[in-house]
C-alpha cells in the first residue's frame, strides 16, 4: 500500500517556482530520504504533505486522504527542523499538550506520553522545563512529540542538526526501531551518510525538480563518478609522468579503475608511502547531480 503519494506537485511563490512537477510514492514501512541543497523545494513539499498549503497543481495523498483535511493529518507526525517545543513547559507537558491536540485523553494519553518519554530517553527529566535540556535532549523530545499520537507517517526534517554524537546515535537507533515496526518515514537531511544509513530510497531535488529517485546503490551505479585516489609519494622515477599534480609529496586524482592504475604506477617504479582509494558515494552523486556552485 502506498502511504504517501505525490503526483505532479507544483507550487509557485510569485515568479519563483518552488516545486515543479514533483512525483513520488512511499510504500508502507519504507524510509525515503529527501535530499537537496537549500531552496531545492524540500520544505514546500513537506508543507504540502502536512496540509500547510494547497498546491497550485498536482495532488498529495497521505494514507489515501488529502492532508488539507483534519482527519488525514491525524495519521501524520512531523518533527520540524526548528525545535518546535514550548521551552517554558516541561517535557511531560509538551508531550501531553500535543497529544491532546490529536484528541488523546485519559489512560491512552498517559500511555503514549510514557512511551514517548521512554523513546526519547527523557523519563528522568520529564518534569523539568525544556529550557533546561541540552540540545540533544531537545532534539529527541522534538521527535518524540511527533510520535506521541502514534502516527502512520513520520516526517523528519533535519532531525540531527546540532546534536552530540551520543544523541545522534540514539536518534539513529530509534529511527531504525521505528522502521522495523513498519512506520513510513520521510527523512530530509544534509548529511549524506545519515541518508545512506537510514533510507531505503533517496530522492534528490534541486530547483524544484526531482532529479533522481532510487536506492543508494542504484543511484551510485547510475550517477556515481570515478573513484578518487589519494596517495603520498615517497619517490618517483624522473621519466614517469604522474596522472595528477604532485603537491608537497601528495597527489589526488580520479580514475575509473583505481587498482589497475595503482598497479601500473607501482610497476613504473613509483613508491607509495600511503594510499587511499575512495569509491563513488552518495555525496559524489549529490554533487554530480546538483553541481558544486554555492547556494543561498
Amino acid at each position: 500500500m502506498r502511504v504517501i503519494t505525490v503526483c505532479s506537485l507544483e507550487q509557485s511563490y510569485g515568479s519563483l517556482k518552488a516545486v515543479d512537477g514533483v512525483s513520488f510514492e512511499i510504500p508502507r514501512g519504507q524510509t525515503l530520504g529527501l535530499l537537496g541543497p537549500n531552496g531545492a523545494g524540500k520544505s514546500t513539499t513537506i508543507h504540502a504533505l502536512i496540509g500547510l498549503l494547497k498546491p497550485d497543481r498536482g495532488e498529495v495523498r497521505v494514507m489515501g486522504g488529502d492532508p488539507w483535511h483534519a482527519e488525514t493529518r491525524r495519521s501524520i507526525g512531523i518533527a520540524p527542523q526548528s525545535l518546535s517545543l514550548y521551552e517554558e513547559l516541561t517535557g511531560y507537558e509538551n508531550l501531553s499538550f500535543f497529544a491532546r491536540t490529536f484528541g488523546l485523553s485519559g489512560g491512552r494519553l498517559r500511555d503514549r506520553v510514557g512511551w514517548s518519554l521512554k523513546f526519547a530517553g527523557l523519563e528522568d527529566r520529564a518534569r523539568h522545563r525544556v529550557d533546561t535540556y541540552s540540545g540533544g535532549m531537545k532534539r529527541r523530545l522534538n521527535i518524540a512529540v511527533a510520535l506521541v499520537h502514534q502516527p502512520s507517517v513520520l516526517l523528519l526534517d533535519e532531525p540531527t542538526v546540532g546534536v552530540d554524537p551520543q544523541s545522534r546515535n540514539h536518534i539513529f537507533e530509534s529511527i531504525a526501531e521505528l522502521k522495523n515496526e513498519g512506520l513510513t518515514i520521510l527523512y530530509t537531511t544534509h548529511y549524506m551518510e545519515e541518508a545512506a544509513r537510514l533510507c531505503d530510497r533517496i530522492a534528490i531535488m534541486d530547483r524544484g525538480k526531482l532529479l533522481a529517485l532510487d536506492s543508494v546503490a542504484a543511484l551510485i551505479r547510475q550517477h556515481g563518478c570515478a573513484s578518487q585516489i589519494v596517495a603520498e609519494i615517497e619517490s618517483t622515477p624522473s621519466d614517469v609522468q604522474l596522472p595528477g599534480q604532485l603537491i608537497e609529496g601528495r597527489i589526488q586524482f580520479a580514475c575509473d579503475r583505481p587498482l589497475e592504475e595503482v598497479a601500473r604506477l607501482s610497476a613504473l617504479g613509483v613508491q607509495f608511502q600511503s594510499l587511499q582509494i575512495k569509491g563513488p558515494d552518495l555525496e559524489s552523486v549529490f554533487l554530480m547531480l546538483t553541481g558544486r556552485s554555492l547556494r543561498d
Partner: protein, 437 residues
C-alpha cells in the same frame, strides 16, 4: 475542548514567563497603589484641609469671634501669621491662602445695615478653585457674627445713639419727625438695655442660657448630579476612596500587559515552529486563533479580578458587581480584538512587541491610564474618544463609583464590542492568510 486546552497552555506559558507575569500583575498593582496614594486628597470624605494664614489687624472681640468661626470649619486649618510672612508662605505654596482682617472690623462686622469691612483674601494661584470655596466659608463665618451681635444687645446702643444724633442734627424742618424719631430711638435704647439686663440675670440660671443665634444653619448637600456631570469637580465629588480612580487605571495597565504578551506569543509560535506543529495537527486555524483569544480573554478577566480583590481589601466598593462584570467582559472582548490585530503588525516577536507597546502607550496616554481623562486639557479629552482605554476605564469606573445606569453604560459597551469584533476579524483573517504557506 481543544480551544480550552490551547488557552490553558497559553496561560501557563504566560505566567511561567516571570517578566510577562510581572507586567500583567505586579506592575499594575504597583501603579494602582502609587497613583492611589498620589490621589489621596481626592476622595470627598478625605479632602485635605486648606491651610489659611490669618492676619488679625483688628484684635477685637468680634475679629476673635470671626476667627473662631473659621476654625470650627473642618475644611480650613487657620494659622495666625504676620502679613509679610503669610504672603511669602503662599508664594512658596506652603499655605493655600491668606486672610487679612482689617482695623475697625469689629465696629461694623455683623451689622447688616452698616457698610461691611473689607476682608482681604489672597490665594495660591494654582489653587484658585478653592478660593471660591473659601469665600463661601468667610460668608458663613460672617453670618455667625450677626448672631453674635444679637447675643450682645448693648453693642447696638452706640449705633442707636449715633443714629439719633444724626437725626437731631439734620437740617430738616420737620420737627414732628425729629420728635417721633427721637422717641423711637429712646424706646429702642430702653428696650435693648432691659433685654441686656434680663439676659444677664437669666445667665445665672443654666436652663436660661441664651441660645446662640446663627445667620443661617447651613447644611451641605451633594448637588453634584445637578451640576455639569462632565466637569472634573462634579466627577471627583463621587469618588469615595483614593483607589476609585487609580485601580481602574491599574486594571488597564494589566490588560495592556496581557495583550502585549499574547500578541508577541503568536509571533513566537510562528518563529519557533510550534505553529507549524499545531497546524499539522487536526486543529483548524480558527481553533488556534480562538485558543489564543480565549487565553487572552481569561488573562484580562483574571487581571481585573485580582485588581478588584486588592481594591476591595483596600476599601474600594463597587456600586454594582453585575455592571463591573459586564464592563470587564466588554473590556476583555475589546482587547482580545486589539491583541489579534497587533499580532499581525510585525513578523517577529521583537517586531510585534515593539509595535504593540508603541500602540499601547499611545492608547494609555490618550485613554487616561496615566492622567485621568477628566483632568486632561479639553483637546486631549476630545482625542481620548479614539482610545479604547478611555471607554474601558469609563465603564469600569461607571460600575465602581460613577454609579452609571445601564443606558449610560451602553455607549462604552457598544464601542468596546465593535472594536473587539473588528479587531478579531482583521487579526484572524490576516493571521490565517499568513499561516497558510
Amino acid at each position: 475542548m481543544h480551544v480550552v486546552h490551547l488557552a490553558l497552555k497559553d496561560l501557563k506559558l504566560l505566567f511561567r514567563n516571570r517578566m510577562a507575569a510581572f507586567f500583567i500583575l505586579g506592575f499594575p498593582v504597583m501603579m494602582g497603589l502609587f497613583f492611589g496614594m498620589m490621589m489621596s486628597g481626592m476622595s470627598s470624605g478625605k479632602r485635605g484641609k486648606m491651610e489659611i494664614a490669618v492676619i488679625d489687624q483688628d484684635n477685637s472681640r468680634i475679629s476673635a469671634r470671626f476667627i473662631e468661626a473659621l476654625r470650627k470649619n473642618e475644611n480650613i486649618n487657620v494659622i495666625a501669621d504676620e502679613l509679610e510672612h503669610a504672603k511669602e508662605s503662599v508664594r512658596k505654596a506652603q499655605r493655600t491662602g491668606l486672610l487679612v482682617i482689617p482695623n475697625g472690623f469689629g465696629e461694623t462686622a455683623g451689622f447688616m445695615w452698616e457698610l461691611q469691612p473689607e476682608i482681604e483674601l489672597g490665594m495660591d494661584p494654582s489653587r484658585s478653585a478653592e478660593g471660591a470655596m473659601l469665600q463661601g466659608f468667610i460668608m458663613q463665618a460672617t453670618g455667625e457674627l450677626i448672631g453674635e451681635r444679637f447675643n450682645h444687645p448693648q453693642d447696638f446702643l452706640p449705633h442707636i445713639s449715633k443714629a439719633k444724633e444724626a437725626l437731631m442734627t439734620s437740617n430738616t424742618d420737620n420737627l414732628l419727625m425729629k420728635q417721633v424719631g427721637g422717641a423711637f430711638f429712646d424706646s429702642l435704647s430702653h428696650m435693648i438695655e432691659s433685654a441686656d439686663k434680663w439676659q444677664r440675670q437669666a445667665g445665672t440660671n443654666p436652663d436660661n442660657q441664651p441660645t446662640s443665634m446663627h445667620f443661617a444653619n447651613v447644611k451641605s448637600l451633594d448637588i453634584s448630579r445637578h451640576i455639569d456631570p462632565s466637569s472634573a469637580e462634579a466627577q471627583t465629588k463621587k469618588i469615595r476612596t483614593r483607589w476609585d480612580i487609580s485601580f481602574p487605571q491599574a486594571m488597564l495597565w494589566g490588560v495592556l500587559g496581557s495583550i502585549a504578551g499574547f500578541s508577541a506569543s503568536i509571533a513566537r509560535e510562528r518563529t519557533s515552529g510550534t505553529l507549524v506543529r499545531l497546524q499539522s495537527s487536526p486543529l483548524s486555524r480558527m481553533h488556534i486563533m480562538l485558543g489564543k483569544a480565549l487565553a487572552c480573554f481569561l488573562a484580562v478577566i483574571l487581571v481585573i479580578s485580582v485588581m478588584l480583590v486588592i481594591g476591595l481589601f483596600l476599601g474600594m466598593r463597587p456600586t454594582s458587581f453585575t455592571k463591573l462584570a459586564a464592563a470587564s467582559g466588554c473590556t476583555a472582548i475589546c482587547f482580545v480584538g486589539i491583541m489579534l490585530t497587533i499580532s499581525v503588525l510585525g513578523k517577529t516577536e521583537q517586531g510585534v512587541e515593539g509595535v504593540g507597546w508603541s500602540i499601547n502607550m499611545v492608547m494609555a496616554m490618550l485613554g487616561g491610564c496615566m492622567i485621568p481623562v477628566m483632568f486632561m486639557p479639553a483637546v486631549f479629552q476630545k482625542l481620548s474618544v479614539f482610545s479604547p482605554i478611555r471607554w474601558s476605564i469609563l465603564s469600569i469606573e461607571g460600575a465602581i463609583w460613577r454609579d452609571f445606569s445601564w443606558s449610560e453604560l451602553a455607549l462604552p459597551f457598544t464601542i468596546m464590542l465593535v472594536v473587539g469584533i473588528v479587531g478579531f476579524g482583521i487579526g484572524t483573517s490576516i493571521l490565517v492568510r499568513r499561516t497558510t504557506v
